[in-house]
Amino acid sequence: MRATVSLAHSAEHVRRREPSGLGALVGYCRRNPQLLAGIVIVGALLLVGPVGSHLIDVRHAQPLSEVPSQPPSLATPFGTDDQGRDLLAVMVAGLPLTLTVGFLAGAIGLCIGTFLGLTSGFVGGVFDAIIRMAVDTLLTVPALLVLIIIAASIKGVISVTIMGLVIASLAWMNPTRTIRAQVLTLRERGYIDLARLSGMSTLKVIVSEMLPNLLPYLAAGFVGAVSSAVLASIGLEALGLGPQNDPTVGMTIYWALLFNALLRGMWWWWLPPILVVVILFLGLLLLSAGLDEIANPRHRRRV
């Protein structure tokens, strides 16, 4: 009797603590501060471009806009570089470009990875063996080296989109592995067997039964893919293999190195891009840790 009462009481307790929609999200974020912090930081960085371009003239991110080599002042709060770019405008114009490369490469990598992971995990057999071997082999290849060779061989001018595609070519392996592992687990669940027995086609099973349960892993995989893609793009750009005509974060680092900004004490040139990269990665890490909690309820710190 007491057990029943306490069960009913706890059920009600649970029901009352489960509001839906936005309220649920806010409530969840209160319990998962990392996710909240991650959303806030990454969101703020994403807004820098659209909001900033209304406040300052992004055409000043091109050379010959201001007096060159000036330290920060009222007119140019981030100073200027040796070719006359306004470095605040460069940040506002360049951050969205870097994020575009990262998100484009991350999204494409994730899509390919999801497709391959889902099919190879679910279908199994020879197909699975081939995919698994390809992924494991390619993961051992030093990615930056391959990217350097690809980028150096591109005819014509490298644009932001092309950068994203180049990096995407080596960004799909980790998502494939992650998704495939999850699919192998989920495949054995009861509701999957039930769906199959009830006559659902394989495709429908994948899309309507598996995919929703994979969403936390997809989100975490996306964050991971984006962070590696941003890192790879900055690495390539700092080496001079990026979109040289665009003021991305990596290109700012490239110009700062070329013109010896460090030795010449031009801290306003090399410091902001580094800080921006650090903040971006902090945000992505928090986001990823927060999503990890959703995916693995056992990791929940609070209830």
Binding site: G224, N260, L285
Partner: protein
């Protein structure tokens, strides 16, 4: 699992960023062995501590970027695989120790971080770079573009005019400049003891003629040389196809990058001339006449030890150079060049961007530039000019009006102010203003009024473009039939990253959708015509502008897809006739001047290329271990360690501090 992976990559990112930051803060260790004890020269140690100083354009990364992508190990630099090929590239048994103050170290040459031609020492191969053969071999003559009658040569340097006889004693043309007779000095020997004779000259010229156009200078020899004979051991007679009083100056009188060496018949004979590497340390190859022998050649450095049995010391021509060893390192990024100069790890480097020179001068008082007192513009006027070139065979660049419209969009003074902080000067003619060329430049004054070159005027640009049917599209760029005006500007890699983007920005402001690229295969692309616009150094000037104008001769033309000798691909028969006439005249002939003016009128009207700003050779020299470097007060050469016309003489003239 996903959080763990992200944390790993996050840590990698932090470590990478901090490592990049820390490494960039420290001074870089230069990969120079203080005392190479083993036979193998040092592997690239800078790889792990120089993440961001990697090659800008090398496809194979020379240094290790500390930023790691995903879970991939960072790329590791490797020596060029050819360094371990069959010919010995390092002396067996190791190298003797030589003290730092008896060694001269320079970082010069053409590629960053690693030599691309480590197993080669044949000066005629297209792949060869300027990393040591150019002072191992000696020329028939040296020439100094800065010589004036007031300049006295330093003691011990023979000759009393601009041309210094070195391997040759004298040279003379016949009456109509169709035959050149060269008399050699006696007692010259190759490094293997064989005598250097006129037969080596005969062999070299014939070898080049037979292998045109695959070897450097081969096309030129085929064009000009009819016949070459050795009248005796010390006399060579060269008969030309058409009279050419510039022949000696252009090919056998070394200055800056001009001229080629004579190679030993007894080594080259019987080899496959198109591929002969000429490098084998065990055999003592390359065999040359200069006081140096190559003892180590890897992708990271080339080491030359002094050869005390040099013919010059034996015959009393000149005493041996004062240093026992010369080490040549590959080119470095500007930031690293400044650091190695501050640390006294090297004695001279390639020239610096003007923006970096105050940073160097602030931190060391041992650096010396050409201009006395290390004042602006720091360097000497280079015999090469910076030109913006068009592919004149590719529409729409085949229209001289369009080229003029593009020229009106340039503001050269702004470039000089922004890039050179005011110390640059506008250049309106396709040749450098060396002292003996100024009369020719003055003769163009009226022509420049008629066809002005330095004339920034965006309205004129718009007027011309519109008259040709181009309209500005919604984003303000010139377009026709919804195709934008194609303008990809190629920059010679390693140079022009400071001015290239400025020109591109000026063109964008004028409505051209321009962008720039610095490809590693710049030479191939421009030679084959896969290019719209390019920026490069022109051929260095000699005593008069003929060699500069000759670059635009249509014999240098080839259709797109085939290698052209010069990338301009411009054809103008009237101009050709005038330039041919110039090649046969002496430059003090009044007819030369009038012919020159006629040719310049055509050139300025058509503008197949655009002069930009004067180039100065801002070469830093280090006074810590060596003194007697060339400068304004002592202008015995003009150039840097990578120039064949300068390196050898610099090595002969500097003395220990």
């Amino acid at each position: 699992m996903s959080a763990t992976l992200s944390r790993r990559s996050f840590i990698a990112a932090w470590t990478g960023t901090l490592a990049a930051f820390a490494a960039a803060c420290q001074s870089q260790a230069v990969p120079v062995p203080a005392a190479p004890t083993s036979g193998v020269a040092a592997k690239p140690p800078a790889a792990t501590s120089a993440p961001a100083q990697a090659a800008t354009a090398a496809p194979a990364p020379g240094a290790t970027p500390a930023v790691a992508a995903t879970s991939a190990p960072a790329a590791v630099a490797t020596s060029a695989p050819a360094a371990t090929a069959a010919p010995a590239v390092v002396a067996a048994g190791g190298l003797p120790t030589v003290a730092r103050n008896e060694t001269l170290i320079m970082t010069v040459s053409d590629t960053f971080t690693q030599f691309q031609d480590a197993p080669l020492a044949n000066p005629f191969l297209r792949a060869i770079q300027r990393n040591g053969w150019h002072f191992m071999f000696e020329p028939l003559f040296f020439w100094n573009p800065y010589w004036t009658r007031e300049v006295k040569w330093p003691a011990g340097v023979p000759g009393n005019e601009a041309r210094i006889p070195w391997l040759a004693e004298s040279a003379a043309y016949n009456a109509d400049s169709s035959q050149l007779t060269v008399k050699l000095r006696s007692g010259i020997t190759w490094s293997d003891g064989q005598p250097f004779t006129a037969r080596d000259i005969v062999f070299t010229l014939n070898m080049l003629k037979d292998n045109s156009p695959d070897l450097l200078f081969a096309f030129d020899m085929k064009t000009w040389v009819k016949d070459v004979t050795a009248a005796d051991d010390l006399t060579a007679r060269i008969t030309l196809n058409t009279p050419n009083p510039q022949f000696l100056g252009r090919y056998f009188s070394w200055f800056q990058d001009n001229g080629f060496p004579i190679v030993p018949e007894h080594i080259y004979k019987g080899q496959d001339q198109k591929t002969f590497a000429n490098l084998d340390i065990e055999k003592g190859w390359p065999v040359a006449t200069g006081p140096w022998k190559l003892v180590s050649a890897t992708a990271d450095q080339k080491i030359f030890d002094r050869r005390d049995d040099w013919w010059g010391a034996k015959t009393g021509f000149r005493s041996l150079p004062k240093m026992k060893r010369v080490i040549v390192l590959p080119r470095m990024e500007d930031a690293k060049k400044v650091q190695v100069m501050i640390n006294n790890d090297v004695d001279t480097t390639h020239d610096l961007f003007p923006a970096n020179i105050p940073a160097l001068l602030d931190r060391t008082d041992k650096a010396i530039f050409w201009v006395d007192g290390n004042k602006q513009p720091y360097g000497s006027v280079s015999p090469s000019t910076i030109m913006i070139g068009f592919n004149n065979a590719k529409p729409p660049y085949d229209d001289p009006d369009i080229r003029r419209a593009i020229n009106h969009a340039l503001d050269r003074k702004q470039v000089s102010d922004v890039v050179y902080k005011g110390s640059g000067q506008v250049s309106e003619l396709p040749f450098a203003l060396l002292p003996n060329v100024i009369p020719f430049a003055d003769a163009c004054a009226d022509l420049l009024k008629k066809y002005p070159v330095d004339a920034p005027d965006l309205n004129k640009t718009a007027e011309i473009m519109q008259s040709k049917g181009w309209q500005k599209d919604s984003e303000g760029f010139w377009a026709k039939d919804s195709q934008r005006f194609p303008m990809v500007v190629l920059l010679s890699p390693g140079f022009f990253q400071d001015i290239g983007p400025i020109f591109v920005t000026q063109w964008r402001k004028a409505g051209f959708d321009a962008s720039f690229k610095s490809p590693t295969d710049f030479n191939t692309l421009t030679q084959q015509g896969n290019v719209d616009v390019f920026i490069r150094f022109d051929t260095a000037l000699f005593q008069d502008p003929w060699v500069s104008l000759d670059q635009y001769h249509s014999r240098n033309f080839a259709p797109t897809g085939q290698d052209a000798i010069q990338p301009y691909r411009w054809k103008n028969t009237e101009f050709d006739t005038l330039v041919d006439k110039l090649s046969q005249l002496q430059n003090n002939d009044p007819v030369f001047m009038t012919t020159f003016q006629q040719a310049m009128e055509i050139w300025l009207r058509e503008l197949p290329a655009l002069p930009t700003v004067k180039w100065y050779l801002r070469v830093p020299f280090n006074l810590t271990y060596w003194q007697g470097w060339p400068n304004e007060k002592n202008p015995y050469v003009c150039g840097g360690g990578w120039h064949r016309g300068a390196a050898g003489l610099i090595l002969h003239n500097v003395t220990p501090v």
